[in-house]
Symmetry: C5
């Protein structure tokens, strides 16, 4: 269960900055990438002050803050980039749903990145906030990411399309990377489900039920993030602002396309998961039926015979049958007839 609330007390003033996530990093890292068609520079900043200079420049600057637990750092960035306190509150409140907001001078994107542990197959969500300004782009992360490494490499190549475009294209490229990571995650979930399906079909084990349940929860968590992101991207596409250039539009349409593919695949996963659970339960039901048939056959076959044997185990003095020499073989015949009759009855009922 994703917690929506951690420790923000009831009734405090709006805009009060409080980081509601866990501290997952020792020291926040602030870095910048500044690039244009002709230049590209990476810097690790020890304080937010140099950002003022980056804003002044014409070239595109991507400033990234990893680790949000030093609230004053976020506050200083807010002052430098002139960000509303309510927006800063949203950035620090890491249990947010994906959303898009037009803050006049910049646009805000909040979305969730999912990290999947390959061993435990656990999904951990991480909130990423992105502010797209005229010449700068600000991202806030909770933990260091390697998902954007490929993108950083593309920024280094002077020939790349991205070097000639503005902050809106950079924002698109970041969103595209995120959606790609969703598609990878979905592919992983699809593989898991296929493996589960094979197990259920061949030899269902006792903990398959828990595995199906855990898989379903991962799919639901993913789904809950995708729908609002779809809405956010749609709102970005319809943004009427100088921040968004016409030449970025086809790429955003492509992005929306990929997103709707992801949504469709997640819906398919959810249906398939539900179908698998249904199948598991139906198969379990079938097995119960089979078990009961075996029990019933065994009991119906031997309980009457045991009774008959019990009769002639009685110690009455006057039981004429006990004296008859052919009684014992005759009784064997009775045993056989009763057992065959039972078996014929079950055969006719198509039990085996």
């Amino acid at each position: 269960m994703k917690k929506v609330f951690r420790n923000k007390p009831i009734g405090i003033a709006p805009g009060t900055l409080l980081y509601t996530g866990e501290k997952r990093l020792d020291k926040p890292i602030l870095s910048s990438i500044d690039y244009g068609p002709a230049h590209h520079g990476v810097e690790i900043l020890s304080s937010p002050q140099p950002c003022r200079e980056l804003i002044a420049r014409d070239s595109v600057s991507w400033i990234n803050l990893t680790g949000l637990h030093q609230v004053e750092l976020v506050q200083q960035l807010g002052e430098i980039f002139n960000i509303n306190a309510l927006v800063l509150e949203d950035i620090l409140n890491t249990q947010h749903l994906p959303k898009f907001e037009d803050c006049d001078a910049a646009v805000l994107f909040i979305f969730t990145l999912f990290h999947r542990d390959d061993q435990t197959r656990q999904i951990t969500p991480e909130q990423i906030s992105m502010l797209i300004g005229p010449t700068w782009l600000l991202t806030f992360q909770e933990v260091p990411e390697d998902v954007f490494d490929q993108l950083r490499l593309r920024l280094q190549r002077a020939s790349g399309r991205i070097r000639h475009r503005g902050t809106d294209y950079l924002g698109y490229a970041i969103l595209d990377t995120v959606v790609d990571s969703y598609l990878h995650l979905i592919a992983g979930l699809e593989e898991d489900l296929e493996r589960l399906e094979e197990t259920v079909f061949s030899n269902p084990k006792a903990d398959d039920l828990q595995k199906i349940h855990a898989h379903k929860r991962q799919v639901l968590v993913l789904r809950r993030s995708l729908r609002p992101l779809q809405i956010a991207v749609e709102e970005f596409r319809q943004l009427d602002s100088e921040l968004l250039h016409d030449e970025t539009q086809p790429f955003l349409r492509d992005l929306a396309d990929h997103l709707s593919r992801a949504v469709d695949a997640v819906d398919a996963l959810r249906d398939a998961n539900a179908g698998l659970l249904e199948l598991y339960l139906s198969l379990a039901n079938q097995k119960l039926n089979e078990t009961m048939k075996i029990l019933t056959i065994m009991a119906s076959l031997f309980i009457p015979l045991t009774f008959i044997a019990g009769i002639y185990g009685m110690n009455f003095e006057f039981m004429p049958e006990l004296k008859w020499p052919w009684a014992y073989p005759a009784l064997w015949l009775v045993f056989l007839v009763v057992a065959s009759g039972m078996l014929w009855f079950f055969k006719r009922k198509k039990w085996f």
Copy 2:
């Protein structure tokens, strides 16, 4: 089950004032907080008359009535603040759904606050009605609340933003407190569910079923309150009146955001609860299967053996086997073969 109707008789005239809640308080308490950028005063009023003077003032006055069973007190307030009889009826009828209504001179908000007993984990709803006028804000509560204490503290601090704003911001602050209390409640329900999940996964007990059911009902009660409140806030945001200032809009958007987060979390809770019940039943099913397997194995193993032993317990005079010296050890061999065959059969069926 929340009762919708207590004792209003069929067919009485509309606007007839009748309190339909329980009397939960001995004596109603009427209090006022009057504040502006430069002053702040709290008063306990013994009669509604001083309110007339508060209306006349320019500063913001928050008048609160706790305890609604003295209908005439509500009626007097209605006359002083010029409130429609139908609105007063709504305020007294404490089984109302959350709603927003534009009453020209003022706007009406009705919403539900939930009190949760930490021991019994029971939720008790309380209807709160709020009327926002130009310079005054009226609230009606059924029981004394400490949920607004933090807000009252903020009103005392001269530096707070709230001291410089109008009644619309005060109304927003009250709603924000309520939504915060929802988020707290949801966090509590999430914790309960997590604890239930752990129990079900490790060692389900007989009363877990009732606990899951009780949890679900709490979630449904909460959900039934959230949706209409969302609509009410939306209507307030679109209100075209002097009562609502432009500078309050971003805060209302923030509020709507929090509300949609709450709705999303409640939906997730409902899904998780349904998933847990499903899991519980599936696990119970699995256990039944296991139980039946044990029974079938035990019965299939020993019933045939008992029958064989029964045969040689018979007292026929002519049973040649009884005389054979090696018959008894041979029979032990038969016992072992039959039992092994049975075990091999169940092994091949992958029963253990």
Copy 3:
């Protein structure tokens, strides 16, 4: 199951008048209440003719016909009040859904009243048709009603608001009474459900299942009537006609509010009923599990012991154990060890 069709043959001309309900009354009763701010008169009419005079008057006349099986009476009223044959057909066809229709000179309301037998807790629907004209209001009932008695009393009081308003307010008052009766009915259904819930939680009986099912059907019947009535009231509110005065609008909004409260409560009832059934079945499942555990424990405990006892009940001549003096007490030890082992096994499985 509510029959939609009784005996209207296929293909007859539209507007052919046929009463499709049961004859529940010996003789139809036609009565009128004529009132204004200053006067109030009640009359039982032996023929529809005096109605012509009532139409001519300026004051408000409420004419009520109880019992629809004398089709010619309805036809005469239709002629006097100038009602379309298709509308008369609707009035006589008592399996109609609630609806609103603007017939130019008048507006038609069709709705359902539910009578609940306190003993059998059975709900019987009754269709009521109401035509609101400029100075007259016509109602058609199948059986005599006492639900409107309170309203008739209010008409007698000269001080009442209703005496100073037109036919639209009288129509509203009738609808309000009907919605109040729905709320009463819902309160009754809520009580029933609560009682059922208590029984299911403490000691479920065999016929609880039927009771839950019967309750569900009552809720569904009620629900099927509420939704179209909501639409009808909405259409009435948006009516652009002289028949509907502006001063009646707030009352209609209040009515719509009550209706949506009723709809919400019925939805909650339906959910609660579904939840109760689910709980009942889950508890039954749990009991089955428990039953099977008892059976399995008893069988697993005693079947192996019986087999061992059976061995030494055999009559072989050469069974050395039978001669050993300590064999019998030793066997008791074996019995105890086997039984203890079994109990330890079930204990470890947390079966008790």
Copy 4:
């Protein structure tokens, strides 16, 4: 299952005429009814040619073709009445969903009539196509119908409203007859369900499950036809053409009303059917519980007793109890105590 496709090969040109239904009639029958306020004539036509003359006349002509397997006949009619090849293809393709199409000179209605065999209670669908032109109305049927006989009688009566109206009213009358036949069918299904409900409540039989399933499929087939017909009628009502006169509008509204009543009744049927299945399964579950209780009581009562009897059936030489004179009556006491203990245990568990 209604087949959507019979034998039309993939990739043939659109407008290629192929009858995809079964041949259910030896020879197609082409007949015409020509009428006006003053005259009425019925004719059986041996070829489509006389239709040219009927078109030329001012009076209303209803031409009906029963049996569609002679494709050339349909083609000739198409030429005479100037019908598009795509429309003719729709008419011949008898697995169509109900639809309405405005073909400029005429309007097309396709709908389904259901024949119910009173013995087998099987429903057979039949597609009827209707083209409404300015002075003519064309209907295409697969089998001879007696459902329209009543309508043909009304056409003979000179006083009937239908004799004074145009083709739109005739079209309405045909649709009205069809909707009436739906209501009859629904009434039949309601009766079936009521009978099934009684059986399930009193004494469920093994084949009730199949009957409930068959009933559900009939309801679903009917429902699948009603929704598109509702849309078609709505489109007809909003048709802006000289073909549709204003005076027919109230009748179409009445028709739409009846249709929505039918849809509502079918939905109610579907819910009731689902509820019945749920009840059947719940009752079956309850019975299983009861069966298992009986088994558990019998086994728990006698298996321990049999074990005790087994002990004293052993043949050990040294069993002191066997010699005690009061041992046998004492054992009876043990038997009684054990059995009573068991019964008391089950009594306390409220098993009987």
Copy 5:
């Protein structure tokens, strides 16, 4: 499970061409059909260059590429026909949902064709991309298709309508063929379901459950493709471009009609499949009930009798009954009375 993602790495630049399907063909085949009212020519092209000349011509050219694993071939075609890199990426990314896109100079259709293996009854999806330009139409397939053979034959016939129309009609004809193939596929699935239904009703086998599950997955896969295709066709119909002629509109409406028929049939299939699974489980439940009844009857009948026989098998010295001469026959009477009582009890419970 259809994989959405194969091997496209996270974060690469958009428009990077990568074929994400399997290589199902040795060598790609590029062919062209060039036709007009008076001429028709088929060519196998060894390189894309001759296409330049085809574009220049006025007649309609249908160029088809089968096999997409030679990415450079697709790239060359893209250059010749002036296709956007993002569109080429979509064409190569063969896990796309059906979609329509207006690319100014041409329109793009992506849809899925399903191949069904008649033996295994497995469905394999194949993505087909279609670009409709002013005088040319480009199709991209993964494997050689014979589904379009009939269409190619129609192109050879000089009299065919298709020879006189433009590329939009050719596009329509291709889509129509695809929808026809869907209808064929649906007919096959309907047959499968009917066969399954018969088996389940008469003699359900253990693997029917898997078969129902597999059938459901096929239906879901098909359904997931149909809905977006419906949207795509709708968008094509509303296209405001010279590419789409008015005379093609009626054919597109016909196509939309067929598609909605297919969607309806698939929905009906899904419902029928769900109903069948429900029935299967209900029948299995019924059988379990029956099995338990047999077991209970057998156990209840013989376990008490065996106990009685066990009593008189005991070896106490003082058991007076053993000496009575009529004790043995009397005991038989007891056996008969107990057994008859049991049978009467079960008879009264209507167990047989």
